[in-house]
Symmetry: C2
Subunit: 388 residues, 2 copies
Amino acid sequence: MNSFSFHNPTKICFGEGAVEQLASEVKRYGSNVLLVYGGGSIKRTGLYDRVLQQLNAAEVRVVQLGGIEPNPRLSSVQKGIELCRTEGIDFILAVGGGSVIDAAKAIAVGVPYEGDVWDFLVHKATIRESLPIGTILTLSATGSEMNGSSVISHWEEKQKRGFTSSYMYPRFSILDPTLTFSVPRDQTVNGIVDIMSHVFEQYFSLTKDTPLQERLCESILLTVIENAERALDKPDDYTARANLMWCGTLALNGGLISLGMDNDWSSHGIEHEISAIYDIPHGAGLSIVFPNWMKYVMNERPDRFAQYANRVWGIERNGKTETELALAGIEATRDFFTRIGAPSTLADFGIGTEQLDRMAYEAVRFGSIGSFKKLDQADVRAILQHCL
Amino acid sequence: MNSFSFHNPTKICFGEGAVEQLASEVKRYGSNVLLVYGGGSIKRTGLYDRVLQQLNAAEVRVVQLGGIEPNPRLSSVQKGIELCRTEGIDFILAVGGGSVIDAAKAIAVGVPYEGDVWDFLVHKATIRESLPIGTILTLSATGSEMNGSSVISHWEEKQKRGFTSSYMYPRFSILDPTLTFSVPRDQTVNGIVDIMSHVFEQYFSLTKDTPLQERLCESILLTVIENAERALDKPDDYTARANLMWCGTLALNGGLISLGMDNDWSSHGIEHEISAIYDIPHGAGLSIVFPNWMKYVMNERPDRFAQYANRVWGIERNGKTETELALAGIEATRDFFTRIGAPSTLADFGIGTEQLDRMAYEAVRFGSIGSFKKLDQADVRAILQHCL
């Protein structure tokens, strides 16, 4: 186990009706609120009205920024920063999924920074300040509601980059599983893949002597697998939605489940290059990349993959070699993704070989990626080739 | 799953050498520091000198309060409160195990309160303020290093009570597993029992549909069981000590592992009555009480006890009834406690029937205890009878 630091100050309000706690939470932090949201689904579901009621009750002034894209764009973030400055915003409320929350975080750290907020994403500047933010989560996937990370796309340059800072932890996040009842099937699927992928990036680690962390990871995977089809079959199943929601939050939670372990994150890096160019959903990209990454890297540590097959998929060890077990676990993953309707090839999105070289080049722009197996440009190219 | 709130703002610095982070942490919070510690083991191990070096480096003034008892007493807390007031203390540093940390917490909330700090423990007053505290943990057991709870004994009245407040979370806790290398065997054993007991109080719950929480609990139990004898056989085994330490912190962590579940805590309540009178170590008392509590309450939910037997102790389900499995799991618990040298009867401490009625009366002084099975005075008396 490695040494580590951990500090996650986000307050969670979880459960049906938790939105009713919004007024009292907001009042602690500001009086001029920027309300950030996405494509308008919150208006259809009535959540928008409930939020405005709460903000009225809190007696705060509200400025709105809707239309945040599924892969949130730098241009929207810049627009939000300008709005905050001209309107004297002192608190940002994100209502939506990971994209909306990620955009809100980038706006929050961009406001007090003189330069272009993109500087933070290309390691040109360090975050030293931010506006406080709060969130109401409407999609189980990202974990962004309880961590300090954000992913932003520079659409013109076809770049999608992530960044992390202690300044980007939300002050509070409201998690009401009933708000996810109306999430469409494909987005629910993408969220499930996203949650599992977050765990994979942490679980497949070279760090030794981390039995608790491994079990925490396995606990989330088992629970997601157990509840996924239940939520897909019956979208208003509170228990299934609640379990997925809490799994999503704990899966990427300032590293909670894998403290003291090296993380990898190269599959995320590779996926970011795909969606930077083709604007496909993050979860869909991960569903395509992950099984191929697994197969490419499994020989670094077949024992961990064997453990995964055994503990997560219940594949009995009897007589099998570690490699056989590992492969069976990867197949089980692929089968599960297919069973819930997640894509398995780039061809599912009509993507061919055209941009493979560019994506491989961009993925390692700041150096080789990954820690389970360090990947250079040729490695990424090979994994993408398997994704076709 | 129930609705819940969660907010754990404690920062953790974990790993060998983490004490070197003390100076920079302390500087954020105060300049007049009360250093609280126990019976002097930190002087024998050299930790005391390292702490003073760090406090010197932080350029803070240091006032000392040593001699905190293993079951920390109200009188020590009151002494600490007086010291803080006369010396203008603005930060409290606890260096020790749960007792020292619990005392520091009680001092911290007592300083700004006009009345007697005991008022908080008997529900006569509400905590609204506190001094900031930080901790350096020297014993894996209590979880107090990352939660808002404290247990204090009123020795003259033979009462031992716990209290919890958001104001009592440490600002930071330094967790260096090497600091536990010198913990004597019996204290290591008591710590192991304490950690497992904290999980039991949460895991044996009537709340349904909490698969993730149950697995998080099982993850800790499995890891403690796996590492316990290793740490006892080789006290300076870093991996074993690190795993126990992190298990202990996560086991009682503002409820992290059991959010959305009803907790029980009646075994702790019963144990408190034993150590309030006989001043035996908390972990030793729990080792005696828990298997007897389990047997007394298992019929409330044999399925959970059967799951415990199967998942934690690996007892195969084949052909067994739930009750048989449950009993086998309880026996496995008892056997494990015996194997690591934990006591199993009150007689091990020379305790007979003399005070059983009094303990049963005191345990339910504020009403029946427990939620898995509500226990009245007669129930507690019966459980204590089994402990003889």
